[in-house]
């Protein structure tokens, strides 16, 4: 392919590979999962009148913890594979 778009500015490939986004994303989601789960289990109960008696914090905390852990797991797996 001819380099058409680079008449005026140099274009060099630095071959950069950024760090894996799955790590900060996994960390953030697991952290959220953990604090929601803890707050749901040990926090006040009466706030769940709003959500029809459903302890959404515990349920959703657990879900997010799993999603976060999955991202961290995939990140670990792809790092091992790239070596």
């Amino acid at each position: 392919m001819e380099k058409k778009g680079s008449e005026s500015m140099t274009e060099k490939k630095s071959g950069s590979h950024f760090f894996d986004l799955k790590i900060p994303l996994g960390l953030l989601l697991s952290f959220y999962g953990l604090i929601l789960l803890l707050y749901g289990l040990f926090g006040p109960d009466r706030i769940y009148e709003k959500s029809l008696g459903l302890n959404v914090n515990s349920i959703w905390g657990a879900v997010m913890l799993i999603i976060g852990a999955l991202f961290l797991g995939f990140a670990h797996y792809s790092r091992k594979n790239s070596r």
Binding site: G5, S8, T10, L28, L54, V63
Partner: protein, 542 residues
């Protein structure tokens, strides 16, 4: 006015954790920014799952989310047209047919393609209008965000504006497009995880989808059935307006030529990933109505102020529908998560504008008209500087809009003047080798003028439509048609570019390469599946 929501420490903890992680991610990307391509195009090195989610998130800003929830509370299921016919065909077209020209020619921006295919003047029109508009838009979204945070939490306008501007400035300054994209992916998860609990609890309260349907008027429940005439449905638009205006011109104009979204595909690691980017994004896109249309319907079914509006006995503020619903169902904890999701999508919307601006500014304006042929380092530095004055300019806009709230509507309108006709210029440029440089220029210019003229005639009551939205859809259509016609006409009488200059830029002069990848990675396969799913969804919600 008292704030609707009061947050406790756990909500603030969630919000703070998000701010910390974005700053850390932005700062950590700093050391990878060695060339201008690293900064503006992520070194063309990102995998397609990241670019796809960013491509989608760039259009899932909080302004869109709140606006579309409002639309759903007003018009019901008709709102899905913005997510299905008004997005999917265009996204697939971009991936299958247009991406090879954008990616393989190594252009770094949409205006740069116009320069190669047409001429410097055509690029100029697009570059200047785009640069100015993105900054105005980023200021507008900052102001909108400040308004919502004041209503929701009682924060002052200035503190919301300065907080978001500072965070965006820091992470874009250090990480450029990569920061922006990484944040969009984080935002994608936060907005889904933040809104789903409210959707779930709301549906549970009304007795599931069937319970929800039972509480809504018939016109709210069908996407197409009442589109026969503009008068028969709450949106005031007929099927022609939806198909031609929204489905064809507005959607193709936005998804295939708006640099804000196209930039995300250019960051892909190779052509195949670039082509998969918009196509894979089509799948989550089709699901967005679940967190946008359903909350709007729930607001009508549950909150008295919106149910009363159905009988015409109240005119509620539709823009607060989502916030009221969140406040109604979510306890502290998940509530903080939902608010963080909204904040994240506001900030990433702003960051998207700023990164698109600094790229077009540096490559297409500064590098073309002000200082040509400087070393790459110089342009990298200019990109960082552009980030700073881009953010400052947006703050300025936010304050100007604050004293003239109507400006917001006008600017969005002016933006549509530039966007709608552009697709005709691209369509002819990519698929008709006889389109000439000046044909492209005058076509684009007359399309923009047509849009402006149509708007004037509509406002002066010379032309009538049954709703603002219908006027908007048909305006896009006429602007597109004018651009299309004038480009062809002028092309017949002006000098063509030689075939050798057009190689790789026009469909018929570009050798087609058969993808060698496995069939399950081919964009054609996924594009067809996405289209089929879209048709099925439309039939289900007919």
């Amino acid at each position: 006015m008292n704030p609707i929501i009061s947050m406790n420490f756990i909500d603030y903890l969630i919000l703070a954790a998000y701010l910390v992680i974005t700053l850390v991610v932005g700062y950590a990307l700093k050391k990878y920014m060695k060339t201008s391509e690293d900064f503006f195009l992520s070194g063309r090195s990102l995998p397609s799952w990241i670019t796809s989610l960013a491509f989608l998130s760039a259009n899932l800003g909080a302004l869109e989310v709140i606006g579309m929830v409002a639309n759903s509370a007003k018009y019901g299921i008709l709102t899905v047209h913005f997510y299905w016919i008004g997005a999917i065909p265009a996204m697939i077209f971009l991936g299958l047919f247009m991406m090879p020209f954008y990616y393989n020619t190594k252009v770094r921006s949409v205006p740069e393609y116009l320069k190669l295919r047409y001429n410097e003047a055509t690029r100029g029109v697009n570059a200047f209008s785009f640069a100015i508009m993105t900054l105005l838009m980023s200021g507008i979204s900052m102001y909108a965000m400040a308004l919502i945070f004041r209503m929701m939490l009682g924060w002052s306008l200035t503190s919301s504006i300065l907080l978001s501007a500072l965070v965006v400035l820091i992470y874009v300054f250090f990480g450029g497009l990569s920061s922006s994209i990484y944040n969009e992916v984080i935002q994608f998860f936060l907005i889904w995880l933040g809104l789903l609990p409210a959707v779930y609890v709301g549906l549970k309260a009304v007795g599931g989808f069937s319970g929800l349907a039972a509480r809504l008027p018939e016109t709210f429940l069908h996407a197409w059935k009442n589109m026969g005439s503009a008068a028969a449905n709450p949106m005031g638009v007929d099927w022609m307006g939806v198909v031609l205006g929204l489905g064809f011109v507005l959607s193709f104009g936005y998804w295939t030529t708006d640099f804000l979204v196209v930039q995300r595909t250019l960051a892909s690691e190779n052509i195949s990933a670039a082509r998969r980017t918009p196509i894979m994004a089509a799948f989550p896109k089709m699901l967005v109505p679940l967190i946008v249309v359903v909350p709007g319907l729930l607001a009508v079914a549950i909150l008295p102020e919106y149910s009363l509006a159905l009988q015409g006995s109240a005119t509620p503020d539709y823009n607060s529908a989502l916030i009221l619903l969140l406040a109604h169902y979510l306890p502290s904890g998940v509530l903080g998560l939902a608010i963080t999701g909204l904040l994240a999508s506001f900030m990433s919307g702003m960051a998207g504008n700023v990164t698109a601006f600094n790229t077009v500014w540096t490559y297409d304006i500064y590098g073309t008209y002000i200082k040509k042929n400087m070393p790459d380092k110089h342009y990298l530095m200019m990109g960082k500087l552009a980030t700073i004055f881009g953010v400052l300019f947006s703050i300025g806009t936010a304050y100007i809009v604050q004293s003239f709230p109507n400006l917001m509507d006008y600017m969005q309108l002016i933006f549509s003047f530039f966007n709608a006709p552009l697709f005709a210029t691209f369509l002819l440029g990519m698929f008709w080798k006889k389109a000439t440089p000046w044909g492209g220029f005058f076509g684009l210019l007359s399309g923009i003028l047509m849009a402006a003229g149509h708007y004037l005639l509509y406002k002066l009551n010379v032309i009538h439509y049954s709703s603002e939205m219908a006027a908007n859809f048909f305006q896009a259509w006429w602007a597109w048609l004018t651009d299309f016609g004038v480009t062809i006409l002028v092309s017949l009488f002006t000098k063509k570019k030689s075939e050798s200059e057009l190689r790789g830029l026009v469909y018929s002069l570009t050798p087609r390469t058969r993808g060698s990848e496995m069939f399950w990675r081919r964009p054609e396969i996924w594009g067809s599946i996405a289209l089929i799913v879209m048709v099925i969804l439309n039939i289900i919600f007919w």
